[in-house]
Every structure is written in structure tokens, then in C-alpha cells.
């Protein structure tokens, strides 16, 4: 089962890496990045994350633009230019179930995002985070070992939690609130009760580039 769940992730990772490594076609050009400065290439993001009915919370993160190229193709006699970007990506989130107290946790994950932006600023992205960690937070917990019963300090469990998000978004060029996004996320928590628990969530939020001048 473990092998089966890893296969699609490995496929996506290799296709991300290898598709980038292919020779550029004639209509594909590297674009000079607007700035080589760190803060120009870094965007922060804040969003709501959750499963609507169950755990819901907040997520913050950052994206660092690594590579960017422009692809032009002709469709129905019209030239269309899209910008393709690869971004390093990191997230930190906290979710809870307000109803039950049994589904609270924090997570962090890191990986690579591929994003396509068209001329109108509409975006499509795939975010693969092979490095992920989820830490559940449990309410009052007692550990029983033989006859001894001890209250556990900061109870919870840690899980390896790689994730994959697919989403759409909108770019706002030159503005501090530089974009918005809506992702569908799949995260696996393992080892979880002798297996790997699949979880799905929605993410909606905004990206910020504080070096942009316009509010």
C-alpha cells in the first residue's frame, strides 16, 4: 500500500524535474527576472485551510521564485504567451475541529510549485511538497503503562506528511496583495494506525509582495 501511494508522488516529482530539464523549443524563452533581489522574488501567503465540515484553520507560507520562462504558442491563429514559473515553497498551518477537539494539528511542508500565468493574470499551479510534517495536538491525555497512569504534557503525534496541491489563482501585478489562490490539497499522514491516512482539504488565500508599491 505504501508503495502504491508513493508512485504517483514520485511520478509527479520526476515529471516536474524532467519536463523542466528538456531542451527549450523555439517558442520558449527564459525571461529575465524582474529583479535578482531576494525580497522581489519572494511572496508571502496567508489563507484559510480546511475541510469545511471538520478541521479548519489558517495557513501562512512563502514562495521564492527560482526559474521563470515565457512560452508562446499559436492557437486558432492567435499567439498566446504564458509565463511558467518554478518556485520554492514553504507552508506552516494550524487546523482544528471546533466541534470535537479530536482533530487539531499543525503542519509544515516544503517543496516546489509549478505555476502557469496567462496574459490576463489567471494562474494554474501544481504544488508538490515531499517534505512535510504534521503534528496532532490532543486534549487532556493520559498514558497508561501497566498500573501507572500519567498525564501527558503537550500530547499529540508526529506524522510524515507529504502533500500535493492543485489549484487556480489570480495575479495582481505590481500590487502589495499580489494574488489570490484556491487549491485542492491531498496530504498523506503516515504512519497512522498501521497505515497511511489520506486527507483532503481546501486552501483559499492571498499572496503578498511587500516590495510592490501599490496597495
Amino acid at each position: 500500500m505504501k508503495r502504491k501511494s508513493l508512485l504517483p508522488l514520485l511520478f509527479l516529482l520526476q515529471s516536474t524535474v524532467f519536463s523542466y530539464g528538456q531542451n527549450q523549443s523555439k517558442d520558449e524563452t527564459d525571461t529575465p527576472l524582474s529583479s535578482a533581489y531576494f525580497w522581489d522574488r519572494t511572496e508571502f501567503k496567508v489563507g484559510l485551510v480546511g475541510t469545511v465540515f471538520w478541521s479548519n484553520g489558517l495557513s501562512v507560507g512563502a514562495e521564492y521564485l527560482w526559474k521563470e520562462n515565457e512560452k508562446t504558442k499559436t492557437r486558432r491563429g492567435e499567439e498566446r504567451t504564458n509565463i511558467h514559473q518554478f518556485l520554492f515553497n514553504g507552508n506552516l498551518g494550524f487546523v482544528t475541529n471546533f466541534s470535537s477537539k479530536t482533530d487539531t494539528g499543525a503542519y509544515t511542508n516544503f517543496g516546489l510549485t509549478w505555476r502557469r500565468t496567462n496574459k490576463k493574470g489567471r494562474q494554474f499551479s501544481i504544488e508538490l511538497n515531499p517534505l512535510g510534517y504534521y503534528r496532532s495536538f490532543l486534549p487532556e491525555t493520559y498514558k497508561v503503562n501497566g498500573e501507572s497512569v500519567d498525564k501527558v504534557f503537550l500530547p499529540g503525534r508526529g506524522y510524515y506528511a507529504p502533500s500535493l496541491s492543485v489549484g487556480i489563482g489570480r495575479q495582481r501585478k505590481g500590487k502589495v496583495r499580489s494574488g489570490s489562490y484556491f487549491n485542492i490539497n491531498y496530504t498523506m499522514r503516515t504512519p497512522y494506525n498501521s497505515g497511511a491516512l489520506p486527507t483532503f482539504s481546501l486552501q483559499y488565500g492571498f499572496r503578498f509582495n511587500f516590495n510592490n508599491k501599490k496597495p
Binding site: 497508561v144 500530547p155 494506525n193
Partner: protein, 347 residues
Amino acid sequence: MKRPLVHTFKIVVLAIAALLLNACSNDHTLGNLDATVFVRHKGADMPAYIKGNAEEKVFLITLHGGPGGLGLGFRGKAFQQIEANYGVVYFDQRGSGMSQGNYSEDDVTIDLMAEDVLALVKVIKRIYGNDSRFFLLGHSWGGALGPATLLKDQSEFLGWINVDGSHDPKDLYFEYIRNFERVAAAQIELGNSVPFWESVYDELDKVDQNTVSLDDFNRLNILAFDAETYLNDDGLINDEESGNVNVSDYNVLTFFWNIFKIQSILDDDLIGELSFTEQLSEITLPSLVLWGRYDMVVPEFYAQEAFDNLGSGEKKLVIFERSGHSPMFSEPNKFAEEVLQFMGQYK
């Protein structure tokens, strides 16, 4: 650039602190309990939802069906009445509901799950004091886990309540076949849902009559639930209330993943294998056996078998004439009355 960042950071920290506070608060007021406590035992963290009125420090520990059912799945009109009088502990067993942990499939045994229940007792005593007293109630699969627990240590309990419990999954398959034949013949004679009951004979022809297989067992188990729907349509079983589990109490995906996982681990050890029939005589606690007349999932035959074999000198069998597998939902008032009377007598 720094100001908006600091502002955002403050808001995020405050929001997370509020969420964390909500996630960890518990009310242990004995007269009006509302607490969620986790029991950490041998690689598993299992939630116990403690509710009701425990001013007398008398607790009813419930064992859900499945395996893989929901602890809070008992809640409804009947348990509301029980909660008004006693503390009720709804427990998500290992690998069920919102339980989590890290253990191997080989570690999961009925023996270990029985130890989990005894660990739960220790935790309740730790929280509410050593003078806490307990009754144990098991429904369906909980009727197998209950005896497994009591055979390990019954000294912690004042009484055992068996609700349509499966103390003998070993022979349940063959009793399914016998029971379907009996009930189908009776219902056809009465002219009730004749096409369905005739189709039951076709289904019985498809399964092996001599050897148990998991596929055949599951086929008959599903048919048993279908049959109860028809018995309800024909007015023999009361409409069941839907219970008080909120959709937000359990993450549905986690619940389904857990139930498939725990059943895939345990079913091979249960179906056609496990039986406590011979050992029921070792249970000498006061016992109450509650059964639905039209239980197709764990047929009525087992009510009498449980009652006859229990070793207690103080035992009572109650048949619910208008119920199937879950009398607490189809005859909630009578169910609560029987449980309260039993607990009142032996507390």
C-alpha cells in the same frame, strides 16, 4: 514592509492561540460532564467522550460495534436519559473513529483491545478518583469485546450489559443462514415483502452452506441490514431515530479509512474463528441481556445463548418486540428504563 508583516503575524498567533484553547478545554464538573480525554496505550491514542451526570461517580462505559464503529454513535434519546442519571463514557476503540496511533497490524488483537478498555478504566479513576464505579455495555461487536475485557478482569465492573452482542462470530455465519430461512418462511407466509424474502433464498443459494468465507459472510451481513429495512417497512420494527452524532463530530474520510483498515486487520481473526460461548460461564457479574426480536445482524438465537451461558446468578433477558439490531434507537424509552433499572439495582 516590516509593519504589515508584524501585524499579520500577531493576528495569526492570536488566532492560533484561540483555536488551541478551544481544542484543549474540558469540563469535569461531575454533575454535568462534557470532556474529551485521550487514552494513550500501547501505541494508540483513543478518545473517550465523557458526558452526563456522574455525581455518584457511577460510569457506564460503552463499547461500540463494528469493529470500527463510532463511540458517540450510541447517543440519542435513550442515552440522553441515561446521561441524566449517570456518567457515560463513549469510547472510540483502537483503529476506530478519531483514534490515532502508530502500531503494526500484527499488534492489533482482540486481547490488546480488551486491555485498552481496562486502560480506559484506569484513566477514569485517575481523573475522578479511585471510588469511581463502572458498568460495561457492549453493542454488536462490542458484545465480543465486552466478554474479552471481562474475562481479563471483571473486578472493576459492577455489571455487564449485552446489547445484541456478537459473543460468537465463529458460528454467526451458519446462524445467518438458519435465521434467514426461518424469517423468510415466516414473512412469506404473512405476505410481507414477498419478492424480497423470495430473493433471500436466491442469495442463500449463492453462498457456501458448509464453509465460512469472508466474502460470503459480508454478503449475508449486508443482506441482514437490508432485511431489517424491509421488516421496518412492513411495520414490525419501529422507525429508528438517527441519533445525536453531528456530522462535524467525526471526519468522515478518517472514519471510513479507519473502519476499512481495522476490519481488514480483525475480520480474519473474528469471522469463523472467535467464540466466547464456552467462557461466558466465567463472567459472574450481574448481567443484563437486551435484544431486538427482529435482529437479523446478530440473530435472537444469541440472546438466549448469552443468557443461558453467562455465569452470573443475577441476570435478566429482555426482548424488544419492535426492534432489530439497535433497540436503543427503535425503542429508546424502554431501553433507557431497563438500563437505568439495572444500574440502579447494582450500583
